[in-house]
Amino acid sequence: MSVSEDSGFDPPTPACVVDARRLLCPMPIIKVDAAIRNLEPDQVVEVRATDPGLEHDLPAWCRVNGHRFLGVRRAGREVVGWVARGE
């Protein structure tokens, strides 16, 4: 799910936040991967990035690694995404 700033999408409360701004693909994903390993199933990681590739890579990464993609939102020049850890 990709949502714009004013869509009313209610971001989940994250258990941890990953700052991946100014990193290029796939580093934001690699950072999310490292963060999610420390979480329990269903806990949420929020990632903030400036690489717009995150919008497509985050759902793809969730799909191949069994995590739940909750959404991304554009916030100005940043992209913010949420993922819940799979089993």
């Binding site: 290029l24 796939p26 994903i29 497509h56 890579d57």
Partner: protein, 356 residues
């Protein structure tokens, strides 16, 4: 080494592949999956990967597909797990001091392949895979995919007979998984050379349609312009060391070196300006105060006069280039900002050799 000791076929047989997301590695994975082998893949991040970075830094071209990570999408299409592994830190020594030398530019392909296979081989052992595979094809790449370099990769990586190349296997000696009957050699291929038609035919046969064009190349190290900028960085630093920031910045902007001790990186569009703005720490950032124009980073040890020259050059690339005077702000970080009123540098004063 924790290798399976019997020839009994494990259930399932598990293989770990190196997946670039290009057609060859995708086909190699599919050939094994179609034999009932459980496949997972790894994709290594070296810091020099070309894919989508330019897209991430420049304004998107109208109609261009959105930037994406090829290996992730290939893994999604294949329905397999992909391990993304950051090897950038260890990779520095491969780039700065490759035992087997460079290819046409600064691409240390043979050392790079050995290093990646070695890393993957470690993963294979710790993660309980039975063998490794790559999408390499004999004779396809001049430096690393040759009859005499495959054994070097096998030997120096330590992967020996545990590395299978499904697309070219029929032209290679038997590997352990074939000898043990875990892989049916009759269902592997004997592709060779640079002709990609057989791979495309196989893709069509397998219903694989969504794959990137092979023209993209693996990494920036094969790119002539990029290699020139990296050489310039090494030469003027007096050392081959580099940090992640350095190699990222070489991917963005116009680079001009008016003197050995400082260099300018000038943004070419709004996205690049934004990207460069994030790198002000340890550098000076120059921008016109009242007019649209590029963000310029000044790197090195510029004197006060050099910064004025940087302002004049930066002004040349902005909207005020025809004005008699432009106010330029130099932000040296930590809240230190100075405004200079400068005359934009006329084109004839910009020396050709300043362009890196």
């Amino acid at each position: 080494m924790n290798m399976p000791s019997t020839t009994d076929r494990p259930t399932p047989v598990r293989a770990l592949g190196l997946l670039s997301g290009g057609l060859d590695s995708t086909l190699a994975a599919r050939l094994l999956m179609d034999q009932g082998i459980e496949v997972e893949c790894v994709n290594f991040h070296t810091g020099f990967c070309i894919q989508s970075h330019t897209g991430a830094m420049r304004n998107p071209k109208p109609g261009a597909p959105p930037p994406r990570h090829d290996a992730l999408h290939a893994a999604g299409n294949l329905g397999i797990r992909l391990h993304l592994v950051d090897i950038a830190e260890d990779y520095v020594r491969i780039v700065t001091d490759p035992k087997h030398g460079y290819g046409k530019n600064l691409n240390p392909c043979l050392d790079c392949k050995i290093f990646m296979v070695q890393k993957a081989f470690e993963m294979m052992q710790t993660m309980g895979f039975h063998f490794l595979f790559t999408g390499e094809v004999l004779g396809q790449r001049p430096m690393s995919q040759r009859r005499d370099t495959f054994p070097v990769i096998d030997r120096e990586s330590g992967a020996g007979g545990w590395l299978l190349r499904p697309l070219t296997a029929l032209r290679m000696p038997l590997t352990e998984p074939e000898k043990r009957g875990w892989v049916d050699r009759d269902r592997l291929m004997g592709f060779s050379g640079r002709n990609r038609k057989p791979q495309m035919a196989l893709a069509a046969q397998m219903g694989i349609q969504d794959y990137p064009s092979p023209a993209g190349g693996c990494c920036f190290l094969t790119d002539e312009n990029y290699a020139r900028k990296l050489r310039d960085l090494w030469e003027y630093r007096g050392s081959r060391a580099y940090a992640m920031e350095d190699i990222l910045l070489l991917k963005a902007g116009r680079h001009l070196r008016p003197a050995p001790h400082f260099k300018l990186v000038i943004g070419r569009d709004e996205s690049e300006n934004h990207f460069l703005s994030g790198f002000v720490e340890g550098r000076a950032l120059v921008r016109a105060r009242d007019l649209p124009g590029p963000v310029t980073l000044v790197e090195g040890t510029p004197s006060a006069d050099d910064l004025v020259l940087a302002c004049r050059l930066a002004a040349r690339f902005g909207k005020g280039r025809e004005l008699s005077e432009v106010a330029m702000v130099v932000d040296s970080g930590g809240g230190r900002k100075e405004t200079h009123l400068v005359v934009p540098m006329p084109t004839h004063e910009i020396q050709e050799e300043w362009y890196v």
